[in-house]
């Protein structure tokens, strides 16, 4: 039975779906035991929500590739959800950035996978098969590890096993070209967009979210201009099918499945607030004055989490610090 895009595929009712029963099961129906929401996006791509950051899953004859692994505490549920989608070997993990709500499950999910090696490393090198590969920008490895002799913030088994430093990393898997595209100094200093070219889906990590203002991690190399450039890059790649709708679908770092126009509205908001802060700085206003001016007020009811991550105050502060940073 072929499911249409976006029909909700909850973890538990998957067997019912395969048995040809009702293809539409609401996530609000309370039947998902793992509290995870599993949705088919389109083509070979699924989205798992509810385990921290969104997880993108690509499945096919060759195996399973996942983008991000969610929180460590939810890895058991995540692995179970992936296994409901496909029982093929989990071969690749791609990390969009280093934050623990996106990489926390690396260790467990990697161990649930396998590396299919070439003939020249078979034989007695049995450990070469253990665990899936983890691909990320070099800066993700830097953030997750530590120099020799110092304590690492994450266990070595969670670290990226294959990194790239500029441009993009290319993977061809499940009859699909997958581009891992570096976006410098955006949400962090190690962000990657992951573009599934055949399925026509972009997984954005936290460059784009629908649940809050952008969290620009200035302390770890993020910047407002990099964030805007990255959003515009997503818009450049995405092609709508009809009247600014459909076509390329976007899996955000947090929140719902989107298409290009959703990113456009978000890009507009981020750019407009950047313009306001920039004008205020030119007028000589201080950070506190800018925060008090209410420059996000038209978006607060939609995006302000009132927390450090995704809150209006921290967003304004990040924009201010980005724009006043000495070059």
């Amino acid at each position: 039975m072929i499911l249409k895009s976006f029909q909700v595929l909850n973890v538990l009712p998957a067997a019912l779906l395969l048995a040809g029963l009702s293809p539409v099961v609401s996530a609000q129906s309370g039947t998902a035991p793992a509290d995870l929401d599993v949705l088919r996006v389109q083509g070979n791509i699924y989205m798992i929500a509810g385990a921290g950051g969104n997880i993108t899953v690509q499945v096919g004859d060759m195996g399973v590739l996942v983008v991000d692994t969610g929180l460590a505490a939810d890895s058991g549920k995540v692995i179970a959800a992936i296994r409901k989608i496909s029982t093929k070997p989990l071969q690749y993990i791609i990390n969009t950035h280093f934050h623990p709500d996106h990489t926390g499950g690396n260790e467990a999910v990697r161990k649930a996978g396998v590396t299919i090696t070439g003939a020249n490393v078979t034989g007695n090198l049995t450990d070469a098969r253990q665990g899936a590969q983890i691909i990320a920008h070099e800066n993700v490895l830097d953030r997750m590890s530590a120099p020799t002799g110092k304590e690492s913030p994450t266990p070595p088994d969670a670290w990226p096993t294959e990194t790239y430093t500029a441009g993009q990393k290319e993977v061809y898997f499940n009859e699909e070209p997958v581009q891992v595209i570096f976006q410098p100094a955006a949400h962090t200093d190690g962000d990657s967009l992951v573009f599934f070219r055949h399925s026509d889906v972009i997984s954005t990590g936290d460059i784009f979210v629908t649940t809050s203002f952008p969290f620009i991690d200035i302390d770890h190399g993020g910047s407002i201009q990099g964030e805007i450039d990255a959003l515009n890059r997503i818009i450049d790649i995405a092609i709508p099918k009809h009247e600014e709708e459909g076509g390329t679908y976007i899996v955000p770092g947090h929140g719902r499945i989107c298409d290009e126009f959703d990113v456009v509205e978000y890009r507009d908001m981020v750019t407009i607030i950047r313009d306001r802060v920039q004008a205020a700085i030119k007028k000589g206003m201080t950070l506190e004055q800018i925060k008090a001016a209410g420059y996000t007020k038209d978006y607060d009811a939609r995006y302000d989490t009132k927390a450090r991550i995704g809150g209006a105050d921290s967003f304004i502060e990040a924009v201010y610090k980005s724009l006043t940073k000495k070059k």
Binding site: V8, V25, D37, E243, C258, F261, R276, A279, D298, A301
Partner: protein
């Protein structure tokens, strides 16, 4: 704007809580057939619907302060950006414009039960599916569309439709936003060859109370014209820096007073808000304007 002649009917429909309106199973008993081609009757709110609303005319709309600020920073030139040129009026707004509307029914071939009522709206070539088979609305994480996800049921001879998963759009096309958290309840009421469409928009982000509007249609026995609306973006402003988003900085919208000055009404009235929807606001304005003259 609500037509006061239909107020009792609308109030009666509104009196039903949303959950009651959608509880219970599908029934087609007593349902009218809405099938056919329908042409809008645009006397009601004509200045807003055909020439288009004037800039900074937010009167009669229950908008939040945030919505007002959003609209004040909106520069109409934003519509010249390639990615905005083909943006569609969302379901709660699309019936306001000039359009041809075709309605038909899709039935299960085995049981002849109605599965869905479909609508084709010529403006922007939008197809709406109103599911009548009792299916639930999808997960909040599912994609949002211009027309949203709709389920319907017959309440007597009134087709009541509930829509979620609508993209961000606008409440009025002079920049007043409607968020992607808005939901829509509609009533389609047929009287012979006349169709009344009542829409009730609830938006927790940009409206302080539900916005109720009506639109009317006449059955058109001819096939009609203008069913197509192909949209392809072009470069409208050459040399614009990449990533630029036209907007007015706070306090710098040059059109802020234009509408109010043209019609000699206080700016406060032009800037809208729930109080400007109600008849008693006219009395308040008259008093304030008389006091100002003294």
């Amino acid at each position: 704007m609500l037509n006061v002649r239909r107020l009792p009917l609308v109030i009666g429909l509104l009196a039903l809580p949303a959950c009651a309106q959608f509880a219970g199973s599908f029934t087609s008993v007593g349902a009218l057939d809405l099938s056919g081609n329908w042409t809008p009757v645009i006397m009601e709110d004509q200045p807003e619907r055909i020439p288009g609303p004037e800039l900074v005319n937010y009167s009669g709309l229950p908008i939040t302060e945030g919505a007002r600020l959003w609209a004040e920073s909106w520069d109409a030139s934003r519509l010249t950006l390639p990615e905005h040129q083909c943006q569609v009026h969302v379901a709660p707004y699309i019936y306001r414009g000039p359009l041809n509307l075709r309605i038909w029914v899709e039935k299960d071939p085995q049981s002849q039960q109605v599965v869905a009522i479909k609508q084709y709206i010529s403006t922007y070539e939008q197809t709406r599916t109103i599911w009548m088979d009792g299916r639930p609305h999808p997960s909040p994480n599912a994609v949002h569309t211009w027309m949203g996800f709709s389920t319907g049921k017959w309440e007597g001879n009134v087709l009541t439709v509930y829509t979620t998963h609508i993209k961000q759009g606008w409440v009025r096309r002079d920049g007043l936003p409607e968020s992607d958290r808005a939901t829509l309840v509609e009533h389609f009421i047929r009287h012979d060859n006349h169709l009344t469409h009542v829409s009730i928009v609830t938006d927790p982000v940009y409206l302080t109370e539900p916005l109720i509007k009506t639109q009317d249609f006449l059955l058109n026995l001819q096939e009609g014209q203008n069913w197509l609306y192909p949209c392809e973006y072009v470069e409208e402003v050459s040399g614009r820096p990449k990533g630029e988003v036209p907007n007015y900085l706070p306090g710098q919208n040059p059109f802020l007073h234009e509408y109010a000055d043209k019609y000699h009404i206080p700016l406060e009235a032009a800037l809208g808000g729930a109080q400007t929807m109600y008849p008693e606001y006219q009395l308040k304005l008259q008093k304030e304007m008389a006091a100002a003259k003294k």
